[in-house]
């Protein structure tokens, strides 16, 4: 990551906070249609891949947890609790966040990068439109909303698949499994999941857009910017996940 990108990340973050504050105070109108459009592209269009990925992840993780429990304790009665906690605190958040990075994050960088190298960003500036407000803010708001919703959906799907494994392979009844799961999942876990969702949702479009704005050269430049954006966003999500998890264990 170059110094140029770091400075731009700082600039965009401060500008997003400023616009967010002004929008809340009613000084800037909320561009609802653009936000809805961005929710469709960053949230609804990524829903199928997130559903399939989290479903299979749920199946794999439940099997693994059950196998390890059985190997070490000769019992799988703790499986709903372990799975539930792991899904709500980590898996149901990290998987959609990383898929959003790979899907809408990459497409955002490529789109803005292409706009940059084809002079569209300069054209906006000359027409008196601030490209950061115009292009980033709707994506920023939409990504936070989409990410929170996707986390709820992915947690739900993962738990359904986990229960399917528990019921079909390990002979739990459905009420038995869900009662045990609910017993281990606390409201603070759900609040933590949503906070992580909002934070990841805010960070991903900022990084993706910053790399897009820094794009140089032709098609090769767009490709390089997209790769760098995905790598940086992925690392940032993983590091933030660790930091937030650590913070939540201290606070709750």
């Amino acid at each position: 990551m170059t110094l140029e990108v770091v400075l731009l990340l700082k600039k965009i973050t401060l500008q997003m906070m400023d616009i967010f504050q002004k929008t809340l105070l009613g000084q800037i109108p909320l561009r609802k249609s653009e936000i809805v459009q961005a929710i469709v592209s960053s949230g609804i269009e990524t829903l199928p891949i997130i559903s399939v990925s989290t479903a299979f992840t749920g199946l794999v993780v439940t099997n693994e947890i059950a196998w390890h429990l059985h190997e070490s304790l000769q019992s799988v009665t703790m499986m709903p609790g372990f799975t539930g906690q792991f899904v709500v605190r980590e898996l149901g958040i990290a998987i959609p966040a990383l898929l959003i990075v790979a899907n809408s994050g990459a497409s955002t960088t490529a789109e803005i990068g292409t706009m940059k190298i084809t002079d569209q960003i300069d054209a906006l500036t000359l027409l008196g439109i601030d490209p950061i407000s115009f292009l980033v803010f709707p994506r920023f708001i939409a990504s936070m909303i989409s990410m929170s919703c996707l986390i709820v959906i992915s947690v739900f799907i993962t738990l359904i698949c986990a229960s399917a494994v528990a019921v079909l392979k390990y002979h739990f009844t459905v009420p038995e499994y869900f009662n045990a799961t609910v017993h281990f999942i606390h409201p603070k876990d759900l609040v933590g999941a949503l906070i992580k969702g909002v934070v990841f949702g805010a960070v991903i479009p900022i990084i993706s857009c910053a790399y897009g704005f820094q794009c140089k050269g032709g098609a090769e430049g767009v490709g390089l910017a997209t790769t760098n954006s995905v790598v940086t966003s992925t690392l940032t999500v993983i590091c933030l996940d660790f930091l937030l998890t650590y913070l939540f264990t201290l606070l709750f």
């Binding site: 084809t118 002079d119 569209q120 300069d122 054209a123 906006l124 500036t125 000359l126 027409l127 008196g128 439109i129």
Partner: protein, 262 residues
Amino acid sequence: MSIRFVNVSKSFGPRKILQNISFEILKGEILFILGKSGVGKSVTLKQIVGLMKPDEGDIYLDGAPISKLSLEELAVIRSQCGMVFQHPALLDSLNVFENVAFGLGTPQYMKTHPTLLSQEAKKSVVIDKLKRVHLTDSILERFPPEISHGMQKRTSIARTLAPEPSYILFDEPTTGLDPITTRAITDLIFELSRELKITSVVVSHDMACALSIADRILVLDQGEILALGTPEEMRKSKIPLIVDFLSETLFQEDEITQKEVK
């Protein structure tokens, strides 16, 4: 009312692009900036509207020093300038109408035109500007990828014309176009400049176009002004680079003539 470069220098890292250049663009004239690739033609153009800042010296637009202006002051200055980029630079998510009308509702436009235009009024302005660039209103609802590159260029010029600028900067407006469309765009630049009394600055490689419509031609080489003069003065020039440009033009003209004879 003019654009004045005073001792402007610009470097990118160790590479010096412009070295201490000074010249003036007069009100209402068509000035062509010619030169080989990478000599700083586009950089010169972008500095006029503050998209790039000079390292040294300054550019004065109607007496205002561009690099010393605040963003608000720059916005006012920019409202008098339009720029046609090398790429059409149309927003792909907007149709032709929305693209051309884009500049009619911006805060910058509202500063100079306090009355908010109704949708009908905007449509009439858009159709008028499309007519100016020889396009019809049948493409209003079409998106940029659905029209030809030449039409995209014209739409881009119509968008630039919509806020009624006093200056238009053309950055290689004919690059990638066929000879017929190139001729049409060149004629359009001439028409607009003369009929609307717009000052036009055109960055180009095309000496033939420059000779046919320019009031003056500025030739840049190795970051410095090699020559500045009228087309007639250029034709008589003995400077090797200009002679090369001229011979290339004559070669192209010969080729066209031979094809016509065949």
